[in-house]
């Protein structure tokens, strides 16, 4: 590593590029994509940890109502002064849990963390196209995290109208305690987050399309890059709708306009507005909200594809179809938002159209699943921790995807909408699956990021507790959905249509959630300990083919010492017949090792592997 640093310093001097030297420019206001990636990743993990602790508190309330937790007085002085969670505090927690997890953990870590780290390294660029903008992106994100965290401590409490913040509940301070200053801070934080995400996304897309190294054609980009940039494009064209909504909602809240508010009587008092429509917010919100869930899942799909191919020592099955289905899913995701609004009072004929678009989107999703299975087929699977997560992703994505078929069909959505079935569905398909993608990705790229190896043993313990525990939480939740249990209830004591067995299920869920939570502590310790004390990582510990593994570990400022690498083949040349090893990096010329990149015969039918054509190079 030392020699790299020295070499890099020399290279930097010779290219007239000034590598930042001071602490501030090197680690704080850094414009190096790898530092920004780590900043994003660590901030997002901290936010995610906060979000998870919130879920413990409300899960304990749901399993053991009014249970007293004396120590909580110190964490939440306003809403748990006696140690028992109060209703406003409960609604605050569920709202902030959703908001933090969706935006501040998952979106941030997948695009800001992995996007930043992987795109330049995997396409062979020295850095992002706009390093300054990239730095700004992180600091706007940081600011939005500060604002949302501060909002937890205002006297009226944080926003508590749900992560969807439907008006009028979110528009009027009188409607619910959290709709005071807390809701304003929520809207400001989201607006800042959108600015941050836009600046980042501009960078990711431009870098991947415009700064690829020689030979890195679009169809030779790893699927991670595809997943991330397609997600970034979704962000660019979907987030502005929520930004517009946030501006209008702030005006409704403070200037007395009636965008979302009709004439109301709240608590016996007339609120004189004229003709606004609460549904307008829902349209604006879900125009972002649906692409948003694909912003979370597409990068995770890319990461999973990458790890599956590496772990199975086999090319990803159907690369072109994988790229095509990513793009198809992204395109379709803009015209399905209405499936969140089947029973919202929206015109039922619109609902009709949204059923059709929603179920069409299941086709490319199913194809991707078959391709992942196809990748494992006839493989030589290495059960590394990243691989365990990648296989787990297939399971969770299928489970959550299939329950989506119920909800996407409007007639079935009528009884299931806003019940625990929905909560179970989206947690499995875009919560768990994204999280599995993230964990797989962290275990996989940690050596490249930090130069150290994580503990495989503790990684496996972390995986098994997380995998089993998460199904304990979210598979069980489906049953509560069958029972018709509405979501966002503080307690279910007064309802007779819920059988007594629902208590047992609630307790199973909470215990599982606490186990999963404990498992994350193992992860945190493993992460920190390995970073500080872990064994030194070799340059290519997983024997992978893609470009980032050909860079020094950890990559120096500018990523490559000397010339940029030249790419000669696609990133999935694993187990190429006739090659001397079972992986051929993208940088190896075709004269040295054969490639199967261009063979077109459908050899998969009988598994007969012949034709690699390496005759196309000059």
């Amino acid at each position: 590593m030392e020699s790299n640093v020295i070499a890099n310093a020399e290279a930097a001097v010779q290219t007239h590029h000034h590598e930042p030297q001071s602490f501030w420019t090197k680690y704080v206001f850094s414009q190096d994509h790898k530092v920004i990636a780590m900043q994003y990743m660590i901030t997002a993990l901290i936010m995610g940890f906060i979000g998870m602790v919130m879920s413990w508190i409300f899960r304990i309330q749901l399993a053991w109502p009014d249970h007293n937790l004396p120590f909580m007085r110190f964490l939440m002085p306003t809403n748990m002064e006696s140690g028992t969670l109060q209703t406003p505090g409960y609604y605050m927690l569920v709202t902030m849990h959703g908001t933090i997890m969706v935006f501040f953990l998952l979106t941030a870590i997948l695009t800001g963390g992995f996007g930043n780290f992987l795109i330049p390294l995997q396409v062979g660029a020295r850095d992002m196209a706009f390093p300054f903008l990239n730095m700004l992106s992180y600091w706007f994100y940081f600011l939005s995290c500060v604002v949302i965290t501060v909002s937890l401590f205002v006297s009226t409490g944080a926003a508590s109208a749900g992560w969807t913040s439907y008006p009028p509940l979110s528009a009027l301070a009188k409607a619910t305690p959290g709709s005071g200053l807390g809701q304003d801070l929520w809207l400001v934080a989201i607006a800042l987050f959108i600015v941050a995400s836009t600046m980042g996304s501009l960078n990711y897309v431009t870098t991947a399309l415009n700064m690829r190294t020689k030979g890195m054609t679009l169809m030779r980009m790893p699927l991670t890059v595809w997943g991330i940039i397609v997600a970034a494009v979704l962000g660019l064209f979907a987030f502005p709708a929520l930004f517009a909504g946030a501006v209008l909602l702030l005006l409704d809240r403070h200037l007395g306009t009636s965008f979302f508010l009709p004439h109301l009587v709240l608590g016996g008092e007339h609120i004189v507005r004229d003709g606004g429509s609460p549904l307008l917010w829902q349209h604006l919100f879900w125009f972002l909200g649906h692409p948003e869930v694909y912003i979370l899942i597409l990068p995770a799909m890319g990461i999973t594809s990458e790890i599956l191919s590496n772990g199975a020592r086999k090319p990803i099955f159907g690369y072109k179809v994988m790229v095509g289905s990513l793009v198809a899913i992204a395109f379709m995701s803009f015209i399905v938002w209405g499936h969140h609004m089947f029973v919202s009072g929206m015109n039922p004929w619109l609902g009709f159209a949204f059923v059709i678009t929603t179920l069409i989107i299941a086709v490319p999703s199913a194809i991707k699943t078959f391709n992942w299975l196809g990748t494992l087929w006839k493989g030589n699977i290495r059960f590394t921790t990243p691989m365990l997560y990648a296989i787990g992703f297939i399971s969770t994505f299928v489970t959550g995807g299939l329950t989506g078929i119920f909800l996407g069909n409007s007639a079935l959505d009528i009884p299931l909408h806003d019940t625990y079935f929905v909560v179970a569905h989206f947690h499995v398909v875009m919560g768990l699956s994204s999280v599995f993608g993230i964990f797989g990705g962290i275990y996989y790229w940690f050596p490249k990021m930090t130069g150290k190896m994580m503990s495989e043993r503790w990684g496996k313990v972390h995986f098994w507790l997380t995998f089993i525990g998460s199904y304990g939480v979210f598979w069980t939740m489906h049953y509560l959905g069958f029972m018709g249990m509405p979501r966002r209830y503080f307690s279910y004591e007064s309802y007779q249509f819920l059988p007594p067995s629902m208590h047992t299920l609630q307790i199973i869920i909470t215990i599982s959630a606490l186990i999963v939570g404990a498992a994350q502590l193992i992860f945190v310790v493993n992460f920190l300990y390995s970073w500080l004390r872990g064994p030194k990582a070799p340059d290519n510990p997983w024997q992978a083919t893609s470009l980032e593994w050909q860079a020094p570990t950890p990559p120096p400022h500018g990523n490559w010492v000397g010339q940029l690498p030249e790419v000669h083949r696609w990133p999935y040349d694993y187990s190429v017949p006739g090659a001397s090893v079972d992986f051929v990096p993208q940088t190896v010329p075709l004269e040295v090792e054969p490639s199967g990149e261009h063979h077109r015969t459908a050899v998969a039918v009988n598994g007969h592997t012949n034709g690699h054509s390496n005759g196309h190079h000059a």
Binding site: G162, Y166, P168, L169, L172, A175, T176, H263, L264, V265, H270, G275, S277, L279, A312, R313, K314, G318, Y319, V343, S344, F352, V355, A366, L373, L376, G379, N380, I381, F383, L388, I391, I394, S395, V398, L402, I405, N409, S410, A411, L412, I414, H417, D418, Y479, G484, P486, R488, Y489, Y492, S494, Y495, Q496, P499, S501, Y574, D582, V603, A604, V605
Partner: protein, 270 residues
């Protein structure tokens, strides 16, 4: 490689055990829907079962295949993966199969949706509903048999239900804190909110519709049995969301007439 075999074994075992538990509890209906009480709900349940069978087959198949692959293709010393990049006929067949299954589901779903969303039959018994934080109020016509107009603008201390002072039909209307309907007729519900969003949920009838301030929303259904049912609110409406519980009693027309005759009209006469 020993470790590899052990991981493969446990992974495959977990996937199979999970699939078995999942399939058993669902097929056994261990935790299932609340008792069914409407015609539309029956049709929804049928479509649900069809969807459950189709998705259930896929769920089990994928997990079994995944478990098999994990075990069968576990890494072995000297083992080598096949170099297989793609298989276009397989992709096309798979996509087409999925598409056919989805066409069936979309066909069934949209047909049923159209039926449920069509206007209620002419003989339907209509109840209007006011939702507010955190209670439901049910509005019935008085002796004149016609429902008076209501609007939030008319609400005042003297006129808590916002009856139109200029509407002659509004003079004798009845407002009740419980919902009663006569058995034997389709029931149409017209929903209004005074303040924030609510959702009128009837778990036993498999019905749900959001209540939106500034709008009238509707639903209709045909009860198949008499009884007392609950109306939970299904859209977050504030701190009392979880206690916004209504009661629906489906009873014989005679019982219903008894009940309604005991209610005091709260028209504009006061």
């Amino acid at each position: 490689m020993k470790l590899s075999s052990r991981q493969a074994f446990w992974y495959a075992a977990f996937l199979l055990v999970f699939t078995a538990i999942a399939a058993y509890t669902v097929a056994n209906k261990t935790w299932w829907f609340p008792p069914l009480a409407s015609v539309q709900g029956g049709e929804i349940d049928n479509l649900f079962m069809i969807t459950l069978v189709i998705t259930g087959i896929v769920f089990i198949a994928v997990h079994v295949v995944l478990a098999y692959f994990v075990w069968r293709y576990r890494g072995r010393p000297g083992g080598k993966a096949a170099y297989v990049t793609h298989n276009t006929p397989f992709e096309i067949t798979a996509a087409a199969t999925v598409a056919v299954a989805l066409v069936i589901l979309v066909g069934g779903g949209t047909t049923l949706w159209t039926k449920i969303q069509s206007p209620p039959p002419a003989d339907a018994f209509t109840v209007e509903v006011w939702a507010e934080q955190f209670r439901w109020t049910f509005h019935y016509p008085g002796a004149d048999g016609r429902m008076g107009n209501v609007d939030v603008r008319f609400i005042s201390d003297d006129n808590p239900y916002g009856l139109d002072p200029n509407d002659p039909y509004a003079k004798d209307d009845i407002f009740a804190t419980e919902m009663h309907v006569p058995y034997g007729k389709p029931i149409a519900v017209i929903l209004r909110s005074k303040d924030v969003l609510h959702s009128f949920f009837l778990p036993n009838f498999r019905m749900k519709m959001d209540v939106v301030p500034g709008m009238k929303t509707r639903m209709w259904f045909t009860p198949t049995q008499a009884g007392v049912f609950e109306i939970p609110c299904a859209e977050l409406c504030g701190v009392g969301h979880y206690i916004m519980r209504g009661v629906l009693t489906v009873e014989s027309p005679e019982q219903f007439n008894d009940w309604i005759s005991q209610q005091t009209p709260v028209g504009m006469s006061q």
